[in-house]
Amino acid sequence: MSQRIVPTVKRKQIIELSESGRRMDGRTLTDYREITIQTGLVEKAEGSAMVSIGGTKVVAGIKFEVGDPFPDIPNEGVMQVGAEFVPFASPEFEPGKPDEVAVELARVVDRGLRESKVLDTTKLCLIPGKKVWIVHVDVYILDHCGNLIDTAALAALSAMLSASMPEACVDGDTVRLTGRRIPMPITDIPINVTLAKIGNKLFVDPSFEEEEVLDCRFSVAFKENGMLCAIQKGESGYITPEEVLRAVEIAKDKSQEIRKKVVESLKLKSDKVGES
């Protein structure tokens, strides 16, 4: 398992094909595979989404609980992002093994959501300095066919956008839930786009077989207003500064495409986001 023979022949094939702008599965270099977003599967969660990009499938769920704020931001809610690799998602995932790949995934998804301020955590304070909402965002990797980061980020985002939160009523030092649900304080729709560098070409949304032969991975997240809100280069190869600039250009276009898809799939009113 650890002895991954680099499939030299396949890499050659992929690079040759890319010269004419095509890929093994028929896509152009800038095509995403098919994206599907299904929300509401897990009714017991405050929000949930099952998202596929090609064969890669991720489920995300949002749970709220009342908890303690961090001492240095006493008046803000807390968002916690976790990522679990379900062992049936890939023969390489082993049960119960804490994995740096899962940690990196969780932290990249977390930064994409956090830095763009998807969730306005200042509106999640219940009793200043004492009780705030803890928002758990957990993604479970169900099928790994390449590009986990974009799929996981999209699942987490979709779960968040489709969620509603419990209404709480604060009386002195006690927090009581009214049983009613209120909208989430959502302020942005950040989209993460990942490219693989193979040879001197950039491949949008790499497939599993492309990931096996890539030089390195490059992910960048954009806010609705076009600002960059997270970057992560991954894997043990390098990329030139010029390629970085090119990757960012490509990703910016793709992020708009995908955001449109999200808005349509979730039937978001354009005024819902950004005004809460």
């Binding site: 749970k63 379900v86 998602a89 758990h136 957990d138 169900l142």
Partner: protein, 247 residues
């Protein structure tokens, strides 16, 4: 808890809170072949309970010293997603998940021709996406189908269901609300063609008579589940044939 005392879970004319009769099972939807990276897989929606099962194997045991010389090593891993229950659940396996993994494995292993695959491992991974009662029954029933999907030869399907006692009455296929307010819960797994009970547990308090009735009710329920399992297999292989796939 206190409110559940006031709210009646069974009406005067024997109808349960979700509209079922006492011996009626919830809508169950099985689906085979739902995952790409496993040797076999199945998905089940059992009322609001939603579970994915993936089977890997027979494959080389890892680490090797765990291999058994005369049969396949079967392992089951029952896990609940953090958002599958009312309160957020830590991803670290609880003692309940450890015990359930064990009894689920023991419920399935008697059905597998393990002696055909010495020195290999068969791993059954169960992920509960939403838990609304009877997750172990749904897991076992779906795992049977995932094993079939993996092409692993089996003595029979294992069908599973639970009987509970609610407001003094025995009810088939307990859902979460009934389980929590109920006086007992008794899940069984059963291979109908072998007349073989492979799982039986009970929590709560029942009389000897209620126990006898429960066993009858469980057999009846398991056979209903068994029919649904067979239909799911049939429909899966039919569509596979019509799609020109190999079974």
């Amino acid at each position: 808890m206190s409110e559940s005392k006031i709210e009646r879970l069974i009406s005067e004319d024997g109808i349960r809170c979700d509209g079922r009769r006492l011996d009626e099972i919830r809508p169950i939807k099985f689906q085979l072949g739902v995952l790409k990276n496993t040797d076999g897989s199945a998905y089940v929606e059992w009322g609001r309970t939603k579970i994915l099962v993936g089977v890997m194997g027979p494959r080389e045991s890892h680490p090797k010293h765990l291999a058994l010389s005369d049969k396949a090593r079967v392992e089951a891993y029952y896990r609940m997603a953090s958002f599958s229950v009312e309160e957020w659940k830590s991803p670290a396996p609880s003692r309940r998940e450890v015990e359930l993994s064990k009894v689920i494995r023991e419920a399935l292993e008697p059905a597998i021709f393990v002696e055909f695959f010495p020195r290999t491992s068969i791993d059954i991974f169960i992920e509960v996406l939403q838990a609304d009662g009877s997750t172990r029954c749904a897991s076992i029933s779906a795992a049977s189908l995932a094993l079939v999907d993996a092409g692993i030869p089996m003595r029979d399907l294992v069908a599973s269901i639970a009987v509970g006692k609610v407001e003094g009455k025995l009810v088939l296929d307990v859902q979460d609300k009934e389980d929590k307010a109920g006086e007992s819960d008794m899940p069984m797994a059963y291979m109908p063609s072998k007349n073989a009970v492979t799982l039986l547990q009970m929590d709560g308090q029942i009389t000897h008579d209620e126990f006898l009735q429960s066993i009858e009710l469980l057999k009846k329920g398991c056979i209903e589940v068994y029919k649904k399992q067979k239909e799911a297999i049939e429909s899966h292989f039919k569509s596979a044939v019509s799609n020109g796939e190999e079974a």
